[in-house]
Amino acid sequence: MRSRTGIIGLGVAIVALSFLALAATPANAQDDPSGEWSPRFHEDWEERIPGPEIGDYLGLPINDADRHRGDAWDATLIEIPENQCRAHGADYAWRGPSGIRIWKQVDLATQKLVAYHIYTSAYNESRIIYMDGRPHPPDYAPHSWLGFSTGEFVGDTLTVTTDHLKENWVRRNGIARSDKATFTEHFLRHGNYLTVAVVVYDPVYLTEPFIRTTDFVLDEHQQIAPWPCEPVDEVDRPEGVVPNHFPGTNPFLNEFPAKYGVPPEAARGGAETMYPEYRKKMKTMQRLPRPEKKKPAEQ
């Protein structure tokens, strides 16, 4: 009898302690993304590090206008001095070859969270995510590569809204994201792993929101090197020249579908190509002959 009472008492105590433990948990026990984060490139390696192929628009919910921008894009445009140091937009910056540092800024008197700061090594980008509820600037305020960001915790997840962006990439092969775009980010932390999910809305060039995730691993020993950039005249060109392909004349557009055996129609992208069921449709599409592999002696 005494032992039964003891067991019941122990159970009550455990339940009570559990409630106490829950009560003692801070109300704002959100997943803090602060830390030194090292990128992992296994996800979309070929697009990120060697760089995307010309004419590869697969999986992008782009409209016809953006497709034409990609077709007209000439990679030598990046040689123009005014373009050499163009930074990545905040929505694309996660994809860069960058170590990331995230830290909190709190008001010392109240200890309230004022902002998160994010330093991205590529292009020395220093970004602020305001957490103090301030409004976004008016539409006549300047736009920037990183835009204007405000955040809040939705459950445990830091959720960030950004606008006032300069034009930038959707994919680094001429597929543009306009300066009218906005995006939402979700910082998903699982211990030493951080996944940043970015959802881009562009009324100019996207027919559906474009969702992309990028992964990082906590690296407390990370030392981030500076990333200066100084434009130089790489090629002597007449003033004002803008390299571009006249419509219908880009000779490189079929290289990607031929090399990878992707139907050329699928390579043109569009919202439909984002979804798994599109694979069935691809089976019915014509493909280009694969280029013959050169023998070592010919290379």
Binding site: R69, R86, Y140, Y205, G240, P247
Partner: protein, 358 residues
């Protein structure tokens, strides 16, 4: 001094209505083909302006607001009065680049007074259009010139009674008229100090100011204004963020002159880091910018010009060029099917400008 964003924008709808009303009224002063446009997302300007007559001539757009934004140094941007207005203020007084629509003059003056109580000494007109010169008369009269020496000789005995209005000579030619004919704008709105050379320089508020003529660009009377110490360029309508560039061929504009103007703005500006910041650029319409924004725009305009030029070289007619849609990739950003400056009219202007014998 105002905060960075002095006023919260009110309803876009009411602002648009007010500005369109004002644009319709003022366009009449420059004739039925006058060119003007309104702020961001307000391309639906009147199809054809009506002659200036009746109560519309003085009816102010009651709901429109003028917003003040500090740019950097001694320079501010006023938004909402028609074309963007640049204000430079300091111990010497106030200098304005453009004056907006006439019905907005009192609100522009109030905005200027929120920045400085010093006298308005100079107005510089970037070009002739009424959304940039409409406030000349009222605002100039509210100012005063430090007269004496050869200044009186240059601009007349009444020089001290109003601010000096500086513009390229073609602006005065187009606003005025030979004796006996009706001028396009009242005399009180005319420039009082014109220049005919490549540039005119001022030193005002401890700052060198370069007024540079850009030949045959948006019109034949365009000036851009470079504030050297504040590191700000005010471009007039050679650069806008809201629409395809407006090329007023009836007033001497041309696509190649406009591109030359954009190239010159890029040459004048220096980014601070990563192609951002540094020299700030106040466009004729739209948001505050820097060099990279001008560069994106220059790339767009140049690519379209190159395409149309190539099509002309192939012997394509205007209709064939339009059918080929040389602007397709930029239409969702800058194009319009309705309103004052449609994509169709832009392509017309590019084609006709390139087809003109040089």
């Amino acid at each position: 001094m105002p905060s960075t964003f002095a006023k919260v924008p009110q309803s876009n709808r009411s602002l648009r209505k007010a500005l369109l009303l004002a644009a319709a009224v003022i366009l009449g002063t420059l004739g039925a083909t006058a060119v003007a446009h309104t702020q961001e997302n307000q391309n639906a300007a009147p199809q054809a302006a009506t002659p200036l007559s009746g109560p519309g001539a003085t009816q102010a757009p009651a709901n429109a607001e003028v917003h003040v934004m500090h740019v950097q140094g001694k320079v501010y941007m006023l938004v909402g009065a028609g074309g963007n207005i640049t204000v430079q203020a300091g111990d010497d007084g106030v200098l304005l680049v453009d004056t907006g629509l006439a019905p907005m003059s009192q609100k522009v003056l109030a905005a200027v007074r929120s920045i400085s109580d010093k006298p308005i000494r100079y107005i510089i007109n970037t070009h002739v259009h009424a959304d940039h010169t409409g406030g000349n008369e009222v605002i100039a009269k509210a100012g005063e010139t430090i007269a004496g020496g050869n200044v009186v000789g240059d601009i007349g005995a009444s020089a001290g009674n109003q601010a000096t209005v500086i513009a390229f000579q073609a602006v005065l030619d187009r606003m005025s008229a030979p004796t006996g004919q009706t001028p396009a704008a009242p005399q009180g709105a005319w420039p009082t100090d014109t220049y005919t050379t490549h540039e005119k320089k001022l030193y005002f508020n401890d700052e060198p100011i370069e007024i540079i003529h850009e030949p045959n660009a948006h019109t034949d009377g365009d000036s851009i204004v470079f504030f050297h110490k504040s590191d700000v360029v005010s471009t007039g309508d050679i650069f806008v963020t809201t629409t395809y560039p407006i090329i007023d061929m009836q007033r001497g504009g041309s696509i190649n002159g406009l591109i030359a103007g954009l190239n010159h703005i890029i040459e004048l500006t220096t980014p601070k880091a990563m192609q951002e910041g540094g020299t700030m650029v106040i466009p004729g319409h739209g948001r505050l910018c820097d060099q990279s924004d001008v560069k994106f725009y220059q790339e767009m305009v140049t690519i379209i010009r190159d395409r149309v030029q190539k099509m002309i070289s192939k012997g394509m007619t205007l209709d064939q060029v339009k059918a080929a849609r040389p602007t397709l990739d930029y239409d969702p950003r800058y194009g319009a099917d309705t309103g004052f400056w449609t994509t169709d009219k832009f392509v017309d202007a590019v084609y006709n400008s390139l087809s003109q014998k040089q």
